[in-house]
């Protein structure tokens, strides 16, 4: 036989996929065929009794192993349920604790505020006046007065079956941000979202589908309350991009919104601000109360000079 005549057999077109072909086209263990062929040829011999015992023991062991595996794989379900219940319980208790601590903080802040104004009323009435003004502006103090209430709610579909409807027909944090910014631009003096007063340091943010105001979650329907002259506020708000956005949200996603003037709104204060910067107040002569010289209001952007009491 000449070497030159030896032609390499042309492989199948899918030769590069032998692994996949092996899996797809020969799912049956090839040894079944081999053993069947050997049996047909009469080659299959061996001590019968020993084999029976061997097969029996091996099959029993495998069966026991697989049963154990399945049983132990099914078992943790109870554990998961228990863990879930435990977590739910802890969350509920944690929430109750947070609520009571918040109430404590509110009473404490009130007492501090009362003591502060008592102390200042006698020693420095002018400082007290500017402090009160700063507290209103920064959102620390509770305020009330006429204003505008903007309500937003998820589309009707979402409220009926929350799992199936389009998630973009929910009210997003950006929508509320836009409304809040529009109200500020329209001249609102104080704003609260679902009772959470917005301070100069507040943020309306989205965490997944949830909306957070100052890190505390708020739930729909959202009510954004702004204090200011209702007529002016409404007129000027309707000219902002927020108003256009609300219309678009309603037309495109079915988000329900409403802007209404309210005679009297009561906005809670955000409470005592955490002091990030403080200095000992030196009483000065009356009339030289420049705003830069009143370090009582906490401003995080102010770099703390050395030597100040923290």
């Amino acid at each position: 036989m000449k070497q030159g005549q030896k032609v390499r057999p042309a492989g199948p077109a899918d030769a590069s996929m032998t692994l996949l072909n092996e899996v797809m086209k020969r799912p049956l263990d090839p040894s079944y065929l081999e053993v069947a062929a050997r049996k047909a040829a009469g080659l299959d011999t061996g001590p019968r009794g020993v084999r029976v015992a061997w097969v029996l023991v091996a099959a029993a062991l495998l069966g026991a192993f697989i049963t154990t595996a399945v049983v132990s794989l099914r078992e943790p379900k109870d554990g998961v349920v228990q863990a879930r219940a435990l977590l739910v319980d802890r969350i509920t208790r944690g929430r109750a604790q947070v609520a009571s601590l918040r109430a404590d903080t509110a009473t404490m802040s009130q007492r501090i505020a009362a003591l502060q104004s008592d102390a200042l009323a006698s020693s420095d009435p002018e400082l007290l006046a500017s402090l009160n003004q700063y507290e209103v502006v920064s959102g620390a103090a509770a305020v009330s007065g006429p204003g505008v209430r903007v309500t937003l709610d998820d589309a009707v579909g979402i409220r009926q079956n929350p799992d199936q409807a389009d998630p973009s027909s929910r009210v997003m944090a950006t929508d509320i941000q836009e409304v809040v910014n529009g109200l500020w631009a329209a001249g609102a003096e104080a704003i609260a979202v679902n009772g959470e007063r917005l301070t100069s340091l507040s943020a309306v943010r989205g965490a997944g589908l949830a909306v957070q105001v100052d890190l505390s979650p708020v739930l729909p329907p959202y009510s954004v309350e702004a204090i200011g002259d209702p007529a002016t506020l409404r007129a000027r708000f309707s000219r902002t991009s927020a108003s256009t956005r609300l219309e678009w949200l309603g037309a495109r996603y079915g988000i329900v919104s409403n802007v209404a003037g309210v005679d009297r709104l009561q906005l809670a204060g955000a409470g005592q601000a955490t002091l990030l910067y403080a200095a000992v107040h030196v009483p000065r002569a009356v009339g030289t109360n420049a705003p830069t010289a009143t370090p009582t209001v906490a401003t995080p952007s102010t770099p703390a000079p050395e030597g100040n009491t923290p």
Partner: protein, 110 residues
């Protein structure tokens, strides 16, 4: 037949005794079960084709489980455990599917 009896004995023993699996082996149990399913369907098909052999069944059963667990173990050591588990599940899944398809053809001629 003997293998079937043995399996039934093993299953009953496993249900009654409820031995606990060592924690070290826990990650390999799902893969082992899938491998066992593959061997079972392979055996069923061989039975319908008239090719069934107990020894081949047991050896394929055992080797399937051991190889699948070994692949996952090596994957875990290399940091690609979940990917290799996916690979094993895909391969065994394809085999189960084609075996079941051929069983269906045998049984219903369709």
């Amino acid at each position: 037949m003997i293998a079937l009896i043995g399996l039934v004995i093993g299953v009953v023993a496993g249900l009654i005794l409820e031995p606990s699996v060592p924690v070290v082996l826990q990650p390999y149990l799902p893969i082992a079960v899938v491998a066992a399913l593959d061997a079972l369907f392979g055996a069923l098909r061989a039975l319908l084709d008239g090719l069934f052999d107990e020894r081949v069944f047991l050896v394929s059963f055992l080797s399937n489980i051991i190889v699948a667990a070994l692949i996952v173990f090596i994957g875990d050591q290399l940091g690609v455990g979940s990917q290799l588990s996916t690979a094993v599940v895909v391969v065994l899944g394809i085999r189960i599917f084609s075996n079941v398809a051929s069983i269906r053809r045998q049984l219903f001629r369709a």
